[in-house]
Amino acid sequence: MEAMDKISDLPTFILHRILSFLPREDAARTSVLSKRWDCVWDSFPIFKFDQNRFIKPKRGSSTPEHVEQVGRWIELVLDNGVRELKLKVSIAWKPYALPGETFHGKSVNGAYSKFYSLQTLKLEKVYITENTIRDIIHNCGNITWFALGSCRGLKGLDISNLDKLERVDVSFENVCELERVNIDAPNLKSFRLESLKPYLPTKLNLTSCHDLKKLTLIRCGITDDILHLHLSRFPLLEFLEICDCHMLRRIRISAQRLRCLHFGGRDKIEMIEIDAPTLSSFRYTAYNISAPLLFLRNVPCLMGIVYMFDQYNVLNSSWFLNLREFLGVPTQRKFFWLNFEANEVSFDLEELGELAIPPVIEVENLKLTYNVMRESIDFASLIDGLLWSCHPKTIYITSDSTFRRKCMKVLGEKLLDRERTTCCDSCHVKCWRHDLKGAKIEIFQRTKREDEPRLVYWDHLSDHALQLLREYDEVRFELAWK
């Protein structure tokens, strides 16, 4: 049975899809597998022109002659009715200047040709002028998706008269000169701006895009008033992400169809007021422990707080004290997710002896992940600190990494040993053990890969439960607090 060739029977467009994931050499080599595959390769509609394939690495980066080829290549594909064009030019010493006439259209018997077939246009790392943008608007009337990545040369991006335009993405990596963005596109559904400076561009106008459903602004000089003006024009808005916009202070969001909301970053927002009756996902990402005041009305979902560590943060007793204060502000915030970098952790209640201790709140769910882990991290302090700073009702850990397996084990042992340990009787500040009523553990295992994880153990925590823990289990700790 196993010896049958089924893959060759797949429809050609699916085989094309498969080839599209491969480096060009790998894809081309499939042409000698069989006649079928030769045909598939011959009709492969994606052409990647990658300079690295043609220039020997010894000679270093592209020479001006190679760069000239790029303009001719673009001309060729445009004349041949390309539907998706993605151009990324990496030259070491200066950005590639897109020839001014690229999208100008050629004069054929007095009439200028237009590029009707072009639907997706993505330009990356090119120097582009406002005239070129005007040519694109004028000659590529069927564009639905327009993306600019790390492009230079534009002070303003003005787009209008593109009736089919649905999506615009603009982002910068090294230099951002863009000062204003004006888009007037009646069918725009999604706009994303990721600037480099938190105060550029200063002018943003999308107010006539009434159908907008998705708006992402990352580092952008938008002010409270401009944001409010925009939000009032987007009755269909479903997805809103605002990060690192330093001009924002006090925000009011009232959006009747909003489903997904994400704030965060190192911004300076003082207050957020939200009225979003259909919200199903709400996340606040913080890089330091000082959150804005939140006023939630009509917000039916839990709020997720994600704490992203900067590298080499040191988590000590006073950090955990701040965390307790940060989480303790009474709002609907309910689940909490810590994402670690390589951190050092220490926690000692004695150090907090003289300080005022804020009340602690319960969170529905605590989740722990990491980017870079230091092997020597003190898991015992980490668990003690976290259980003291917030009272999680559930902690769910999937054991797909050393970090999580260690967390799982240390947490299990600590919970089990809590009555056998003499803890902080002499200390002025009490540890988490004094607030805990009980703990249960649920262990899910799967015998076969395709199985749903099956609950194999559900009871109060015991030595027996800990012995059951296997490498790829999923574990849910359920904690009851006084």
Binding site: M1, E2, A3, M4, D5, K6, I7, S8, D9, L10, P11, I14, R17, I18, L19, S20, F21, L22, P23, R24, E25, D26, A28, R29, T30, S31, V32, L33, S34, K35, W37, D38, W41, R53, C260, S280, S281, R283, G304, V306, W337, K367, T369, T398, D400, R449, E450
Partner: protein, 163 residues
Amino acid sequence: MSSSSTTTTTTRLLMLKASDGVTFEVEEAVATKLGAINNMVEEEGSEDLICLPNVNGKFLGMVLEWCKKHANNNTNSDKGNDEVNKWWDKEFVMDLDQNTLYHLLMAADYLSGTELVDLLTEKVASMIRGKKVEEIRETFKIKSDFLPGQEEEIRKKNSWAFE
């Protein structure tokens, strides 16, 4: 189940019937991850039984299992679930043989499960990536049907790919 309550939280169940008569009861939110089913639900409105004469029960089951995982992970939605989804996707495609891959791909394409098609086509691509022609033939049991000399000709035509 069918209480007269009008709360919006009640999830609607759909019956999906495969070519071999096997039926699956799934929540609407799960099944509508498949574009084709989403369209049928929107067009036909109240119809709760959907017949899928092109998909065998075994593979429909696997497709739905994938949808269910993704729908569940998305309800608690935040970006952390991307990680969970990725991990789970990896598991899902790990030991699929080519017969299963073929049928799953045909099913996923028929049902317009774009994300699943991407996952599976990428899996097949990973079985080709970096391999020699003979190794690919061995992996998929592909028999060369070229006449003598033809293969050599094609190699020459794409010689840059064989350097």
